[in-house]
């Protein structure tokens, strides 16, 4: 707390509850949550292997009453070169792969960053 709060607390104006568990609403929980975060302290950042980024789970707080959107999207690719499958791609070599979705704002900047770090993003072609 800041000095002001220390001062008014000393005057007995309020007390601070420990860890605020008493305020926790029913619709939040702490548990495994899917995230594509690559920040420091999250596993792939340490290993540099982002191949399983779309399956990554982290213990975190989240709401239990809403459906969270997947941060990844499934794209059918040609297993030979990783390009997008087309109408002419034989079924035997089509593979459904998960990629981190690019943003609508400046997607090219995100793609460049992904390529630099090795984050799997949907192939252009």
């Amino acid at each position: 707390m800041g000095a002001f709060h220390d001062a008014i607390q000393a005057r007995g104006k309020f007390s601070v509850a420990a860890d605020f568990a008493d305020l926790q609403p029913d619709n939040v929980t702490f548990g495994p949550f899917p995230t594509t975060s690559t920040e420091v302290g999250v596993a792939p950042r340490d290993t540099g292997d982002y191949s399983a980024l779309c399956q990554q789970m982290i213990d975190a707080w989240f709401r239990t009453d809403i459906q969270y959107e997947d941060e990844c999207e499934a794209v059918e690719v040609d297993s030979r070169d990783g390009s997008r499958a087309t109408d002419t791609t034989p079924a035997a070599i089509r593979v459904l792969k998960m990629f981190r979705t690019l943003p609508s704002l400046l997607p090219e900047a995100a793609r460049a960053l992904a390529e630099r770090l090795g984050i799997p993003v949907p192939p252009l072609r």
Partner: protein, 447 residues
């Protein structure tokens, strides 16, 4: 270095028409000043000041109390009169005059002792900063009890600087001036993003630092620059990362951010609305709002923090204000003649809280607890505050898991706005005296 901490217009001043003054002069001495007390009320409490007619506040009143009366209590009493919450004025007298002459004994919510203490702490901290080379001279403190919505502390300016007192600067009520809350506004953008797009603190954003758009670059202020790749909202918010904040606001849309701000208590933010009334058409907001914030009153920011601290429940009392029709807005820098007069009137009514933008909060912080007539008969008593849930408690809890300091002060969120000069802000980030000054107030990010 130039110093521009102060707003563009002064706090609301009651201006009386010639007719009102003439009526007053003819009515003789039957009138009696209304006296405002602190929260302990008449008899036991401290007299904060008086409302006389004409004029607002006795000259000898202490500045913080006078500005609290002028800008919070008096407008509230007038609206209460107009709404019929107080007895109707005698014929020929309007509510403004009535409030000033009825001899009311008003118990306000202000805690005099705490306000004095806050005033002293602020002055002391600023003095320490000045001695250490931090050219920050002003600040303001307001404390609102989240559970009751009562304004307990109101320090509208640094009352301790003789230089400011000589310049009349202390007369400016910074708590109602619209200025930039800086990164203190960032939680609003992330809350809008999480709430509007079904995201959680560990949902991630592309940290494309620097983010170059329309010829300018949004850059993270983290030491050494760089990028986290995909950064969680939790990390971005905790470390106030500008690129992620910009992307969050951009993804959910600036209208959603403005709507969230309004929902939580901000009264001054809307497209093509200038709360200073200088030029409404020029007022456009973009996603940079998320990390810089603009045009926010500290008292509104404190109410927002109080609402967040109260897990999304706003406590207070009905505003009793009229809704402003944006179609009638006039700008002081653009209008002429009668339109200019209208702009002036609109700006004054807005500063007093008499008119509000559509879609802004329905409740106000409580400043009046009781009103008695001159004979001691109780005319009004503030009952239990109204409570309105503004946002799902779960969404607010998620915010609390990221910035627990807001919850740390859940019973006493306060806000300070000082060191507003942009260049000065850059300097103060690096200098401990100013950081310590910011630390005076929990619940506000350092500027």
């Amino acid at each position: 270095m130039g110093y521009h901490c102060f707003g563009r217009f002064r706090g609301a001043r009651r201006e009386l028409s010639h007719d009102a003054i003439r009526r007053h002069q003819h009515k003789g001495a039957a009138q009696q000043a209304t006296v405002i007390f602190d929260r302990n009320g008449p008899g036991r409490g401290i007299e904060l000041g008086t409302l006389t007619f004409p004029g607002a506040g006795a000259p000898g009143d202490k500045v913080p109390a006078r500005l609290f009366i002028e800008n919070q209590v008096e407008p509230r009493l007038v609206r209460m009169c107009q709404a019929g919450w107080l007895p109707a004025p005698p014929p020929g007298i309007d509510c403004v005059e009535n409030v000033h002459t009825a001899g009311y004994r008003v118990t306000s919510t202000l805690d005099s002792a705490l306000t004095d203490q806050a005033t002293g702490l602020l002055a002391e901290s600023i003095q320490m900063g000045l001695q250490a080379g931090c050219a920050c001279r002003d600040g303001a403190i307001v404390s609102i009890d989240p559970q009751s919505g009562e304004v307990l502390v109101y320090v509208p300016n640094n009352d301790g600087d003789p230089a400011q007192r000589n310049e009349g600067v202390v007369d400016i009520d910074q708590l109602i001036e619209s200025n930039s809350p800086g990164t203190a506004f960032t939680p609003v953008a992330f809350l809008a993003w999480m709430h509007g797009l079904a995201k959680a603190p560990m949902s991630s954003l592309w940290d494309t630092n620097p983010l170059e758009l329309d010829g300018r670059a949004i850059t993270n202020s983290r030491a050494g620059g760089g990028s986290e790749g995909l950064i969680s909202a939790r990390a971005a918010l905790a470390a106030t990362q500008e690129v992620a904040a910009f992307r969050a606001a951009s993804e959910v849309g600036i209208d959603a951010v403005l709507e969230m701000a309004a929902r939580l208590g901000i009264t001054t933010l809307a497209m093509n609305f200038d709360p200073t009334w200088r030029s409404h058409p020029e007022m456009e907001y973009g996603a940079s709002l998320a990390s810089a914030g603009v045009n926010v009153r500290p008292i509104d920011m404190a109410y927002l923090l109080a609402t967040i601290a109260n897990t999304g429940v706003m406590a207070g009392t009905a505003t009793l204000a009229s809704e402003l029709d944006p179609g009638t807005l006039q700008s002081l820098s653009l209008a002429q003649g009668s339109d200019y007069d209208l702009a002036l009137m609109q700006s004054r009514q807005f500063v007093r809280g008499d008119i509000r933008l559509p879609g802004t909060r329905e409740l106000d912080p409580i400043v009046v607890l009781e009103v008695s007539d001159r004979d001691g008969n109780l005319l009004f008593t503030q009952g239990e505050p109204e409570r309105k849930r503004t946002i799902d408690a779960g969404s607010v809890w998620l915010l609390h898991t990221v910035i627990p300091r807001v919850l740390d002060v859940r019973l006493f969120p306060v806000c300070r706005l000082g060191c507003l000069d942009r260049q000065l802000r850059q300097l103060t980030r690096e200098r401990w005296p100013c950081a310590q000054l910011c630390d005076l107030i929990s619940g506000c990010s350092p500027l």
